[in-house]
C-alpha cells in the first residue's frame, strides 16, 4: 500500500484570486485508489477529466503569503490478469520543419528505416540515434540534451515517419526518503497495446514501480495569481496498519480520536518521526549496557548518535568508516598536541580535517565504484570530532588500553542500539502506538533506583571471594 503526498508550495500575490491546476493520476490501470484527499485551507477543490487525464483545481478568492497545499493518494496495486482493452492513434501528420533541421532529420531517418522492422524497433532505433554522438542528432538537439528536448526531437522524427507518440509523466514508487520530480517516458500505440520507451536510453517497457501521473504535452500544474511555485512528491510503502484496520472493521463506532495518529502527518514528517521515535529504544540500550552490564562508553548518548549515523551507512561499513576516521583523526590530534594549540582552535582544525577526510573517502569510494561510500556524507561530523577529542583525552589520561576499551564499548553499544532500532516490527509498533514509549519510561524510572551490582562488578570484586 502506497501513500503518496504531493506538496504544492507557492507564494500568492496579495489580494489576487489564486487558481492552481494540477494533474493527478487517472487511476484506471494497474492501481486501485483507497483514499484520496486534498489538504488545503480556504481553497475550493474540483476535479475534472481531461481526455485520459484527471486534473484538480484549487481556487481561492483571496490569498497572500506562502501557501502550502497537499494532495494525498493512498493506492494499492491491482492484482488482476485481464488487461483492459486500450485504443490509441496509429497515424499522425508530420510536423513541418525546414532548412538544416530538415536535412539533419532526413539524414537521421534513412539509417533508422534501414535498421528497423516494425514500430517498436523503429522507435528504439530513433531514441538510440538521438542519444548517440551523431552530428545530425547534435544539430537537432542544438546543445540542449535535457530529456524534454530529446523527447521533442524524437517526436519530430517519428512524426515525419507518421508514427504517433505520446508523452507519459510518471512518478517512481520507492521508499527512498526525500522528494522527486516526475520522470518523462514516451509511449506509442502499435494497434493492440501501448509500448513504453525511456527517451534517455531506449529502454522498452515501463518498470513496475512507475505510476502514470498524466499523459500528454501539458505541464504538471498551472498557476494563476501565484509565483515561486514548487511541487514535490513524497511517498512511502506501508503495510495495512492496525489503525486503518480498526476503522475498516468497525465503521459504526465514532472513533474520531483515531484521526490523531502519527499517520495523519505529512509523509515527510512521518519519515522523520519514524526515526525520532526509535531514539528512546537506543537510549534504553545504553542505559542497560551502562548501569546493568557496566560497559564503559564515551559520553552517555554518543553511542545513540553514532547508531543513528549507522542508519545511513549500514552497520559493517559504518564501523569500518568510524574506525578509520577516528584513527586518522586521533593521529592528527596527537600531532596537533606538539603545536600547543588552545582547545577551540584545535577542535576546529580536527573538525575541518574530518570534513576533508569524509570528502576524500566519498571521492575514492565513488571512483572505486563503491556507492556505499557516498552515504558517509551524512555521517555526523561534529559527533566524530567530539569522539576524537574525548578519545584522545581518555588516551592521555587513562592510557591506550583503557581508551581502546572505551572505544570498543562505544562501538558495541552503538551497534546494538542500531540493530535494535532497525527491527522493522519494533519501528512499526512504536510508530503506530507511540504510547508504548511510556512503558520504556517506566523501565527507565525503575532503573533509576536500581542498586544491585553491575555485571562487570561481579568480576571486578572477584578478589574478595578468593579465600
Amino acid at each position: 500500500m502506497w501513500n503518496i503526498d504531493a506538496k504544492i508550495e507557492f507564494q500568492a500575490s496579495s489580494g489576487d484570486p489564486v487558481k492552481i491546476k494540477m494533474y493527478i493520476p487517472p487511476l484506471n490501470k494497474d492501481y486501485v485508489s483507497l483514499n484520496e484527499s486534498f489538504i488545503s485551507n480556504n481553497y475550493g477543490v474540483s476535479i475534472n477529466r481531461d481526455g485520459s487525464n484527471r486534473r484538480a483545481t484549487w481556487s481561492a478568492r483571496r490569498a497572500s503569503g506562502n501557501q502550502t497545499l497537499y494532495y494525498r493518494l493512498v493506492l494499492t496495486k491491482r492484482f488482476s490478469d485481464d488487461k483492459a482493452p486500450t485504443k490509441g492513434p496509429i497515424f499522425r501528420d508530420s510536423i513541418a520543419v525546414e532548412g538544416p533541421e530538415k536535412i539533419a532529420a532526413d539524414a537521421l531517418l534513412a539509417p533508422i528505416r534501414q535498421h528497423s522492422a516494425d514500430v517498436e524497433t523503429f522507435i528504439t532505433e530513433t531514441i538510440k540515434r538521438v542519444n548517440s554522438n551523431d552530428d545530425n542528432a547534435k544539430t537537432l538537439l542544438a546543445g540542449d540534451s535535457s530529456t524534454s528536448k530529446k523527447a521533442s526531437i524524437i517526436e519530430l522524427l517519428l512524426s515525419i515517419a507518421h508514427v504517433p507518440m505520446e508523452r507519459v509523466h510518471t512518478v517512481r514508487l520507492s521508499n527512498d526518503a526525500g522528494s522527486q520530480s516526475p520522470e518523462l517516458w514516451l509511449r506509442s500505440y502499435n494497434g493492440t497495446e501501448w509500448l513504453y520507451f525511456n527517451p534517455d536510453n531506449g529502454q522498452i517497457g515501463l518498470p513496475n514501480d512507475r505510476l502514470i501521473w498524466w499523459t500528454g504535452d501539458g505541464e504538471l500544474f498551472k498557476a494563476e495569481g501565484a509565483k515561486k511555485t514548487k511541487v514535490s512528491f513524497n511517498m512511502n510503502n506501508s503495510e495495512m496498519n492496525a489503525i486503518r484496520l480498526a476503522k475498516m472493521t468497525d465503521d459504526n463506532t465514532n472513533a474520531g480520536f483515531l484521526e490523531y495518529s502519527l499517520y495523519s502527518l505529512p509523509l515527510a514528517t512521518q519519515q522523520a518521526f519514524q526515526i525520532i521515535l526509535l531514539i528512546p529504544i537506543g537510549v534504553l540500550v545504553i542505559l542497560v549496557l551502562r548501569n546493568l552490564i557496566g560497559v564503559q562508553t564515551l559520553g552517555t548518548f554518543t553511542p545513540v548518535l553514532i547508531s543513528l549515523a549507522f542508519r545511513e551507512t549500514q552497520l559493517g561499513f559504518g564501523i569500518v568508516l568510524f574506525t578509520i576516521i577516528t584513527t586518522l583523526g586521533l593521529s592528527l590530534r596527537s600531532y596537533l598536541e606538539h603545536l600547543k594549540l588552545q582547545m577551540l582552535p584545535r577542535l576546529s582544525v580536527v573538525l575541518t580535517f574530518v570534513v576533508v577526510l569524509i570528502a576524500a573517502i566519498s571521492l575514492f569510494s565513488h571512483k572505486l565504484g563503491l556507492e556505499r561510500g557516498l552515504s558517509v556524507a551524512l555521517f555526523p561530523m561534529v559527533i566524530l570530532t567530539m569522539t576524537i577529542e574525548r578519545m584522545s583525552i581518555t588516551w592521555e589520561e587513562r592510557g591506550g588500553s583503557h581508551a581502546m576499551k572505551v572505544a570498543v564499548g562505544t562501538l558495541f553499544a552503538a551497534s546494538l542500539a542500531y540493530l535494535l532500532m532497525s527491527v522493522p516490527e519494533l519501528a512499526y509498533f512504536i510508530f503506530t502506538f507511540p504510547a508504548v514509549l511510556m512503558i520504556l519510561v517506566a523501565f527507565m524510572l525503575a532503573m533509576g533506583r536500581y542498586r544491585g551490582y553491575r555485571l562487570t562488578e561481579l568480576f571486578r570484586f572477584k578478589a574478595f571471594l578468593k579465600d
Partner: protein, 328 residues
C-alpha cells in the same frame, strides 16, 4: 550463570557496595548538588579549609586569565619547587610537580626538563578547561609542594603517597593509603595503576593492599611488604577527615590527605564521588559499615544529640577498628 548468581550473593553477604548502590543510596541521598562546587573546585575547598583552621598546603597564587600567565614568574618568586593544578581537575590530570630549577628551565619530580613555554601551555590548557569536569573554563592553582614523610620511602615509588578516608556524615568509615607506582607515573590514583593499602581505623597500621583490582601484599616496584606499617599521627588524620563534614556539608565524601615532612597531615582535596576499590584494599565491604553509621545517626537524632568530630572519630574507631590480622 549460576556462578554469577553465586558471586552476586556472596558479594552481597560481604556488604560490598556497587556503583549503582553508591550512587543511589549515598551520593544522591547525602550529597546536595548545590554543594558540589565546594569540593569540585580545589580553590574554594582550600579557602574554606583555611577559614575553618584546617591544615592545607600553602597556596602561592591563582591564575585566572590568559593575561595572568605572564605573572607566573612573579607568583613563584625564587621558589625552587611548587605544584601546578587545575582547580576543577579530575583524577589527578593536568597536575605538574616541579622539584627543581635547571639552567633556566624547570625539572619535574620524574626528572623531565620543562621550559617556561611548556608551563605556559599547561596553564593555558588548564584555563581553557582541558582538564576540568565537563570542559568548563577553569583556574590554575599554584601551591606548596608536599614532601612526603620518610616513613613512605620504603613502600613508595616516586610521587606523594596520600591517605584517603571515606567519611559518611562526619563519621570515618574506611581508610586507605594510596601508593604511586612506576606504572601510575607518580600519581596516586588507583585507576592509573597506583596501589591502595587498607588502614586500620583504630591504630593506623596498614593492612593488605590492592593493585589493579587484585589483592597484593608487596609493592611491585620496591618489593617491600606494604602491611604492618604504622602511619604516624593517625588520630590527627582521623580528626582532620571527620572535620571535613562541617567544612563542605556533603554527607558522603572521600577525603584525600598527605603527610608532609615538616607540616604534618594536610588536606589535599575532597571527592564527592569516591571510588569503590577501597573495599578491596581493606578486604571489607562499605555497606555494613555505612549501615552502622546510619543506625547510630538515627539513634542520636532520637536523643537529640549532636556529636563533635572527636566523638565521631572515637565511635568509628571503636566499631570499625582493630581488624584482626589475616592469618596466612
Amino acid at each position: 550463570m549460576i556462578g554469577l548468581i553465586k558471586t552476586w550473593k556472596e558479594l552481597h553477604a560481604k556488604g560490598i557496595m556497587g556503583i549503582n548502590r553508591r550512587n543511589a543510596d549515598y551520593i544522591l541521598k547525602y550529597n546536595k548538588r548545590n554543594l558540589y562546587p565546594i569540593v569540585d573546585d580545589k580553590i574554594i575547598t582550600k579557602l574554606r579549609a583555611i577559614e575553618a583552621g584546617i591544615h592545607v598546603p600553602e597556596m602561592y597564587g591563582i591564575i585566572e586569565t590568559e593575561k595572568q600567565i605572564e605573572k607566573f614568574d612573579e607568583i613563584i618568586g625564587d621558589r625552587n619547587d611548587f605544584v601546578i593544578k587545575p582547580a576543577q581537575g579530575a583524577g589527578g590530570d593536568g597536575i605538574m610537580v616541579i622539584a627543581d630549577r635547571f639552567e633556566g628551565n624547570f625539572k619535574t619530580v620524574s626528572g623531565k626538563i620543562v621550559s617556561h613555554d611548556d608551563i605556559a601551555y599547561l596553564l593555558s590548557s588548564i584555563l581553557t578547561g582541558l582538564y576540568s569536569l565537563g570542559g568548563h573554563r577553569d583556574r590554575a592553582l599554584i601551591e606548596y609542594r608536599v614532601s612526603p614523610d620518610q616513613i613512605f620511602k620504603s613502600i613508595s615509588y616516586e610521587g606523594v603517597p596520600d591517605i584517603r578516608i571515606i567519611v559518611l556524615k562526619g563519621y570515618p568509615v574506611m581508610a586507605m593509603l594510596r601508593l604511586p607506582t612506576r606504572q601510575s607515573g607518580g600519581k596516586a590514583n588507583l585507576h592509573q595503576g597506583a596501589i591502595g593499602v587498607g588502614v586500620d581505623l583504630a591504630t593506623g597500621i596498614t593492612l593488605k593492599g590492592t593493585w589493579l583490582n587484585k589483592k597484593i601484599s608487596k609493592h611491585p616496584d620496591t618489593t617491600n611488604a606494604v602491611d604492618g606499617v604504622q602511619l604516624p599521627d593517625w588520630d590527627g588524620f582521623m580528626k582532620l577527615a571527620a572535620g571535613c563534614y562541617e567544612l563542605c556539608g556533603l554527607g558522603y565524601i572521600g577525603v584525600d590527605m598527605v603527610l608532609d615532612q615538616d607540616k604534618g597531615p594536610l588536606i589535599l582535596e575532597l571527592n564527592a564521588r569516591p571510588g569503590l576499590n577501597i573495599q578491596i584494599a581493606n578486604d571489607c565491604g562499605l555497606f555494613h559499615r555505612c549501615h552502622a553509621v546510619e543506625a547510630r545517626l538515627e539513634q542520636l537524632e532520637k536523643d537529640d544529640i549532636l556529636e563533635t568530630p572527636e566523638e565521631r572519630v572515637k565511635f568509628a574507631q571503636s566499631l570499625f577498628g582493630h581488624v584482626p590480622k589475616s592469618t596466612d
